[in-house]
């Protein structure tokens, strides 16, 4: 049984999300995370190399859910347009159902230093690669514009989703994010369709 499977590992990850969301990135001291997790400060270091390791693991663990959801969607026998819609819906739903996580990924984790951000980007890259597969298949089936620049399209898709979610978080989740998904889908589809 490796560390990641032990209950305290996930306990600390979840505590970190809560502490960061409620106190902000720069006020998320290790001692606060330990307290929230119900363990001693030193115990943290039995499961994580250092504070940076906690933050990256938070992103890895949580992003893992996004990736596996997206993999399920891609495995489905559906049109690229529908897959795009399911992806947006899945992405929005996951964050709307965990407000702490939304704050952490959209606002707080972006305050981390260069090193951490680079490592977070590596994790994100896996997600973006999956996203590309939907776009490529859409082009192949003729659903999407043959001349579309994949990278640019992916930046539009991700940028729009990201901006939409960030605005929603910054407005204190005053409105329903998931309801926006179909609209976002339509907007993006129009931009990409053949």
């Amino acid at each position: 049984m490796v560390k990641k499977d032990k209950p305290k590992y996930k306990q600390i990850i979840d505590a970190a999300v809560i502490v960061i969301a409620e106190n902000g990135y720069h006020q998320a001291q290790v001692s606060k995370i330990a307290k929230q997790a119900g363990v001693a400060d030193g115990t943290i270091y039995l499961y994580f190399k250092n504070k940076e390791d906690i933050l990256i693991s938070v992103f890895e663990e949580k992003m893992g859910v996004f990736v596996s959801e997206l993999e399920k969607i891609i495995a489905k026998d559906a049109s690229a347009a529908d897959q795009l819609g399911m992806m947006i819906n899945s992405h929005f739903s996951l964050l709307a159902s965990d407000l702490h996580l939304a704050i952490v990924t959209q606002l707080e984790l972006r305050q981390s230093n260069h090193d951490i951000r680079m490592k977070i980007n590596n994790v994100l890259r896996g997600y973006l690669k999956l996203m590309d597969r939907i776009l490529v298949s859409g082009i192949e089936t003729g659903e999407f514009d043959q001349n579309m620049d994949i990278r640019l399209a992916r930046q539009m898709v991700f940028g729009t989703m990201d901006e939409t979610i960030t605005t929603w978080v910054m407005n204190d989740h005053k409105y329903d994010l998931v309801e926006l998904a179909p609209k976002v889908q339509r907007l993006l589809l129009k931009g990409m369709q053949a």
Copy 2:
């Protein structure tokens, strides 16, 4: 003559951009900015209330150029589609011509804490309001989709531009950003047109 018109004010602002771009947000100490500006540490505090004030002023001063450029574009007698294109072009050009500024706005300043980011967003809001005017006029003239959600459309426009620029910065400006402007314009227009 107010502080903002004195030469040392701009001198410190410019020094801050360089120091942040070259050292990263978290390594941009006040003393480094002072040294780069050629003044003593204490002198900074004759022109700025505190470090936060420097950072927000950097954004205000530099954003001012974006805003006035956009105002000129809106004042022109052109179609909404053309204005959108000119805006993207202007936005891309301003950042492509000042790599330090691009690094600072796309990467480094986003590491600032919650308070500073909120204040930066207030400044940004003015720019987004102007952007909305292009979208509204496009809808009114029938160029853009009547049923389009303005906020969503603006998030798509800004999110796409932002993601495109950030990717370009992170790839060390290896390709020509301004060349991408027409492609981005076409992609966004397709998504919004009637």
Copy 3:
């Protein structure tokens, strides 16, 4: 059967010597010693009161060999000058044959704190008392200077041996330490002879 006779006791002592020699005093954590000894961390505390107790015991156990060798030499029917020579030779030989031990006694154990060093000195005192007996017998037989200050002479003898060995250890045992013994003996004898 007392603790000291149990196999794990000596096992831990020997592990401590190796770990301290190879990692340095300040990097010789209890957990490393336990690992080297092939026991669990907690097991250490079944044989030793605390870490300090391990270190003092290391010195006691190893010094015991020096003492018993010296006792054999003193029991011999030889001149004081010869006994001095045999002592130097024995002292040098024991350390030359156990490089780990030489590093530990000459360099690493001296980094220990005040308390431990005082306790180590108590152990050392027994050895120095034996050394004094050679000097006293040399004075009585007329071999050594009648007016010689015993304490000073002992400090010269021990100080010279110690400095010689430490220099040898610090030079990575590049030359043969035991070969130096007769020269050291002659030098010291000249200083002490009648």
Copy 4:
């Protein structure tokens, strides 16, 4: 005016000696040294790179006095035997007149880690080189044994002095160290003379 000439530099060095002597090496926290020096913790770092730098500087500054005294002695037109005596006397006197310093150099500073000890040894080496010059000149003038091994002789001289002083310090300076100097000189001279 360089840092070393500023009054606070020496103030901190002297404070460090007192704090280390009175509290022991491992209880000599930077904050204690700052308090003893009458400055804020942060001020220490305007004069020293880090804690290690303080400790090495203590040794350098204090050793500097020993070196310059020894240089004066070597410059004198005296026999090697007399110079040896003057050196021992000077060395003993300097430590006997500053009990704090004696504790620090003979006991506490030896607890420092490998890095610091190596740097301290570099400083010490300069002193030992000067010592060698007395021995060499004694051999050249025929005062000392032509066949004497210089390194061994130096180890005897330094080892004897060091052991004598350490014993004196450990016995809480109960007797007069300087009074021992002539006796030590005679003992060592006998060992080295032709």
